[in-house]
């Protein structure tokens, strides 16, 4: 008597679970499509950047999310960090960032494109790039030196 009722209930439960699984799969597919379409420009920019980096720069970028370039006029080393503004550092001889430079294309571009434009500018026409760039300090000003006041002993 109970067996047909149980098997019918099991079938209904099974169909219910299948419907839920299909619903989740459809939602996941819609979410993934939206995610990929939103990220596509960023991905294209990074792909183009990687195509134009030297093998050493590409390896450095893959490992550290930044790469170094040598200025064509001064021979100075610059570090271009992942980003689209205030992302270029001038390094000193020890490789420590000392001065920041900010120069960007005058149209909206994704980070990879901005970084590639900065790289080409520094490697082919450093003076022109720095002529338009804004400069900012990369190190915090050192704390003022307080003279120690000796307390008077009693």
């Amino acid at each position: 008597m109970w067996v047909p009722t149980l098997s019918a209930a099991t079938r209904r439960l099974w169909h219910f679970l299948l419907d839920r699984v299909r619903e989740v799969q459809a939602r996941r597919a819609r979410y993934w499509e939206r995610y990929v379409s939103n990220c596509e420009p960023e991905a294209r920019g990074l792909k183009l950047l990687r195509e134009w980096l030297s093998p050493e720069q590409r390896a450095q970028f893959d490992a550290e999310r930044y790469f170094d370039v040598i200025g064509c006029h001064s021979g100075k080393r610059y570090r271009i960090r992942y980003g689209s503004s205030a992302n270029v550092d001038e390094l000193d001889d020890a490789g420590v960032p000392r001065t920041g430079w900010c120069f960007v294309p005058n149209a909206y571009l994704v980070a990879g494109d901005v970084m590639l434009a900065q790289k080409i500018a520094l490697e082919t026409n450093e003076r022109a790039a720095l002529a338009v760039a804004n400069r900012f300090p990369r190190t915090l000003p050192s704390a003022p030196a307080f003279t120690m006041v000796r307390s008077r002993g009693f």
Partner: protein, 73 residues
Amino acid sequence: MAIQIVMDHSGDTRHHFDTDDVEAVAAAERRFNELMFAGFTAAIRNASGDTMVTRAFDPTAKETLFYPRLVGG
């Protein structure tokens, strides 16, 4: 085949053209000049991977990249 890559908000737009096709090369030259007039910078890569900035259309360049004018950020 050669390619002109123009950076834009979508990442980039790529224009392929046949270097043996006179009309396609003329169209590529027109595009080059229009982008130069709009303030873009054109960069080409030689066989060894070195990048050079160019101000004149080079019909033999396999890959030309255009990026907008740089300004202080």
